[in-house]
């Protein structure tokens, strides 16, 4: 019989998880999620203290103690900056900090942003073999002996021959007892079986414009966005690989650190990045083996002649049979007209490019943290969301 307290304990756990949901909403909305990137797959979230509120006194600035002291003695000290101590915290920031798995957070994010699950392209589902010990065989090493099966077979044999009723004298026992003794032919062994499981690889390519106009602020937005995109895609694929491409007039592959920080004055030729990426598909990452997600970040400035070239390369080398998603994010563009995003949008509307090419625009007026995280989240929703949601987001 379950104990009575368990029911109440479970409902308390429900209350706690309700509070966690609320805190998560706040966590995602206020942008602290971008500051507090999970460590070791865990995310720290603080929830308000759970208690039944009554009208009580707040401050505790004096009291009674006992001890061998004289008036004027100092018996203890609070750090006045700390604000905790005996102040009992007049604001609601005080609470319990709990750590959540990244998975839970992502699940919550999926519900909140209404993101669909990512699906690998069908031709890219590979078979992977895995060994499981599910079979039984008559021969095998002793270390894999299946004792229960062996005893069961022995019992069956004894029952069928009627030997089961035979009594045996055993030294140390007063009365003779019935015995089940397996012989060699009773022995059963575990045997492995190969199971073929579908599996898939993903390749995430981050590319960004590295011209002088991409300042630190824009780079931070790129960093925040790409981190969450990375976590998100990892959730659906067993193995993911990333490459980082950086370009001004010439593109080059860089490491992660460099990608987020590196700045260099110079012109902008967006198509150079695409050409470099498409070269990778030939030998290093064949599109038949990888589900490829390309994220391209720009501030919209490009040599005007290059936009046409950009669309051409996009059309030829980045078809839906090659990449799962090609996402263009435009950050703080001075003007939508003549920008990269406009060129791509027009091409999508004219059916030059397929549905797998998506665009998002981040434009901050004030730069407040709430606005910033809202903009980033809606950009993620536009890029990764279902078709309907993307439309709703861009309106």
């Amino acid at each position: 019989m379950p104990r009575r307290i368990e029911e109440d304990h479970n409902s308390f756990r429900d209350v706690v998880s309700g509070k966690i949901r609320k805190a998560l909403k706040k966590f995602i909305k206020t942008g602290s999620m971008f500051k507090n990137r999970g460590k070791n797959g865990k995310v720290q979230i603080s929830i308000p203290r759970i208690d039944i509120p009554h009208i009580v006194y707040g401050d505790n600035n004096s009291g009674v103690g006992r001890g061998d002291v004289k008036p004027g003695d100092v018996i203890g000290k609070d750090d006045p900056k700390d604000g905790k101590g005996n102040q009992a915290g007049q604001d609601e920031g005080e609470g319990i900090t709990i750590s959540l798995d990244m998975d839970e957070l992502l699940q919550f994010m999926q519900d909140e942003l209404e993101l669909p699950n990512l699906k690998p392209r069908e031709e890219n589902i590979l078979d992977e073999t895995k060994i499981k010990y599910t079979n039984i065989s008559l021969i095998g090493p002793e270390s894999l002996r299946h004792t229960r099966r062996t005893m069961l077979t022995a019992l069956k044999r004894l029952c069928s021959t009627g030997e089961i009723n035979k009594l045996h004298e055993i030294p140390g026992y007063k009365d003779p007892v019935k015995l089940i003794t397996p012989i060699n032919s009773d022995k059963r062994y575990r045997q492995h079986k190969e199971i073929r499981l579908p599996s898939s690889n993903a390749l995430i390519i981050f590319a960004r414009d590295g011209s002088a106009s991409m300042d630190q602020n824009k780079c931070d937005i790129v960093s925040d966005m790409s981190w969450w995109i990375d976590v998100w895609i990892k959730r659906f694929y067993k193995r993911t690989e990333r490459i980082y491409i950086w370009h001004d007039t010439v593109a080059q592959e860089v490491d992660e650190q460099k990608f987020y920080r590196y700045r260099f004055g110079g012109g902008t030729t967006c198509s150079s990045a695409l050409k470099l990426i498409s070269k990778q598909f030939e030998n290093r990452f064949p599109p038949q083996k990888y589900n490829i997600y390309v994220f391209y970040f720009t501030d919209g400035e490009n040599y005007p002649d290059d936009n046409g070239e950009f669309i051409n390369v996009l059309k030829e080398k980045f078809g839906p049979e090659t990449v799962n998603l090609f996402a263009v994010t435009q950050i703080q563009a001075y003007d939508y007209r003549n920008s990269v995003m406009e060129a791509v949008d027009t091409a999508v509307v004219d059916n030059v490019l397929g549905d797998h090419v998506k665009t998002a625009d981040i434009f901050l007026k004030t730069g407040a943290p709430e606005e910033r995280s809202d903009a980033i989240l809606s950009a993620i929703r536009q890029l990764m969301g279902a078709k309907g949601a993307a439309k709703a987001g861009s309106d």
Partner: protein
């Protein structure tokens, strides 16, 4: 004693097996000896039932407040989790629990040592004596175990009829105003609410002095014309106030007022009545915590240490005293502990010493020389008698008010500290009157702020006006907000609470509706503007 039939039954002698675990034989052997020693000491308790529990069961019982069956609510689960966590980290453990019922249930932890359990039983019988004899527990229901179980059944039924979440939301709101009761009403006998009759009228009689029937001629002199006129006026005023629905004096019992007057559905009123009863049941325990715990500690100290019960079931007659001292230290804290239980224990010891030596009365107060005071001993031996008198008649506030004086304060080295601007805690004084004031403030109204309902129909707009009797300490604002929201939920009216901040400036909390952001803080000027009051 209503449970006479239980005497000499095996259950009283500890041979019960459910729930919990079997009582170990060495404890079972000594239980009659403990009972005998307690009776000889003069304890008068309810018939006890001793139960051994494992730690898990103990946590369960303790989180239900000592009662096996309560209404379903997550707050029990919260306490259970806290207790389990505390035990896991080795921070605290509950040695015993005893409840104010007849028969009285004593729960012992099965991982206790034999001496621990002997101590626990003596201690619990002390509590039971207090419950049975103290004035403040006179009107508590001694059959509360069944009552609580009935409440559980009724609330479960409402949950299945009206939906669990709905009922829990209601209970959550009621529990927030749980502390807004008038503790003195614990004496009131329960009344069934009168049915509302449309032209029902309360008749008031003028007060008059009694005159003997043979001396009627004296009546004009005793009940003078002026006196009678004043009486009639008073009645007229009260009746007018009744007609208009005015409140003549502030009501401290806000919970009770809402229970009787709010516009609630029948199931809601029933739940409120049940929770009110539970709150009132616990009120005397809040009022006598220090005295009660002090007396129980005094009992086990007297029995175990002085009468040598610590050697019960041990190998030698002087075994166990060190272990007992250790146990006691863990419960009451060390030399300089400010544990309220320690305060009660020390006060009772002091009372015993004074009445044993005759250190009371005008004769003693006239003594001025220090040396004479030191050697004062009249060998009266009245200590124990006085202690039992205190147990009968006193609550915490009275106990401290009467017996906490400069001598006691010096002997136990009390001091008064204050927190400075720079975060330092500085000792202010060792003056007994200052310290006493603080201790009394800490114990009166169970250490909670005094809130009273001044006007349920403020300005004729149906606003509930509450007032906080400010004494220099401020309220904890987030909780005030949530409590006001709950009062709004229960009464359906806007709520005003007048209080002051730490500088003495007036602040008025104004709750407009049911919701998190519905409470605002107003100054007096803003309040006047908002409610259209001209100066």
């Amino acid at each position: 004693m209503s449970n006479k039939f239980m005497y000499n039954s095996p259950i009283l002698l500890g041979s019960n097996t459910t729930p919990g675990v079997q009582i170990p034989p060495e404890l079972k052997k000594v239980i009659p000896d403990i009972f005998k020693a307690c009776q000889e000491f003069g304890l008068d308790y309810f018939p006890p039932i001793i139960q051994m529990l494992t730690h898990d069961e103990m946590s369960e019982v303790a989180s239900y407040g000592g009662f096996g069956v309560r209404y379903p609510h997550w707050k029990w689960g919260m306490e259970y989790e806290e207790m389990q966590r505390g035990y896991m980290h080795g921070m605290h453990r509950i040695y015993e629990m005893v409840i104010n019922t007849s028969p009285c249930f004593i729960y012992c932890l099965n991982s206790n040592t034999l001496l621990d359990n002997v101590t626990v039983i003596a201690h619990a019988l002390g509590h039971s004596h207090f419950f049975k004899n103290n004035l403040f527990f006179q009107h508590t229901n001694k059959n509360m175990l069944n009552e609580f179980a009935n409440h559980g059944t009724r609330i479960r039924r409402y949950m299945s009829r009206w939906g669990k979440e709905r009922v829990i939301e209601f209970i959550d709101n009621v529990l927030r105003i749980e502390t807004l009761v008038d503790n003195s009403k614990a004496w009131n006998t329960r009344q069934v609410k009168e049915p509302i009759i449309r032209d029902h009228r309360k008749y008031r009689q003028p007060r008059r002095m009694k005159t003997d029937s043979t001396r009627m001629y004296m009546d004009d002199w005793i009940n003078t014309k002026e006196f009678m006129e004043a009486e009639h006026k008073r009645i007229e005023k009260a009746e007018k106030a009744d007609d208009l629905g005015l409140m003549l004096k502030p009501e401290k019992d806000i919970f009770g007022w809402i229970k009787d007057n709010a516009n609630l559905k029948p199931w809601q009123s029933d739940i409120m009545a049940m929770l009110y009863e539970e709150a009132m049941y616990y009120a005397p325990q809040g009022m006598t915590k220090t005295a009660n715990e002090g007396f129980a500690s005094y009992c086990d100290y007297k029995l175990i240490a002085e009468q040598g019960l610590c050697a019960l079931g041990q190998d030698g007659h002087d075994y166990g005293i060190v272990e007992y001292a250790k146990h006691k230290m863990g419960v009451l804290g060390g030399k300089y502990s400010t544990n309220p239980y320690k305060l009660g224990f020390c006060l009772l010891l002091e009372i015993e010493e004074r009445w044993n030596k005759g250190k009371f009365g005008p004769e003693w107060e006239d003594v001025s020389s220090y040396k004479e005071k030191e050697n004062w001993d009249k060998n009266l031996g009245l200590g124990k008698e006085k202690i039992f008198e205190v147990v009968r008649l006193y609550d915490d506030v009275n106990l401290i008010n009467e017996f906490f004086d400069q001598d006691f304060c010096d002997k136990y080295q009390f001091f008064d500290w204050q927190k400075q601007e720079n975060g330092e805690y500085v000792v202010q004084s060792k003056d007994a009157s200052v310290i006493k004031k603080k201790l009394i403030a800490k114990h009166s109204n169970r250490g909670l702020p005094t809130i009273s309902l001044v006007d349920p129909n403020h300005l004729g707009k149906g606003i509930m006006l509450l007032e906080h009797a400010w004494n220099g300490r401020t309220l904890y604002i987030p909780y005030v907000n949530e409590t006001l929201v709950s009062i709004n939920f229960l009464t359906g009216k806007p709520v005003l609470l007048a209080s002051r901040d730490k500088n003495g400036e007036e602040i008025i909390f104004y709750c407009e509706g049911y919701g998190d952001s519905q409470v605002h803080q107003l100054t007096r000027a803003k309040y006047r503007r908002e409610f259209g009051i001209s100066v």
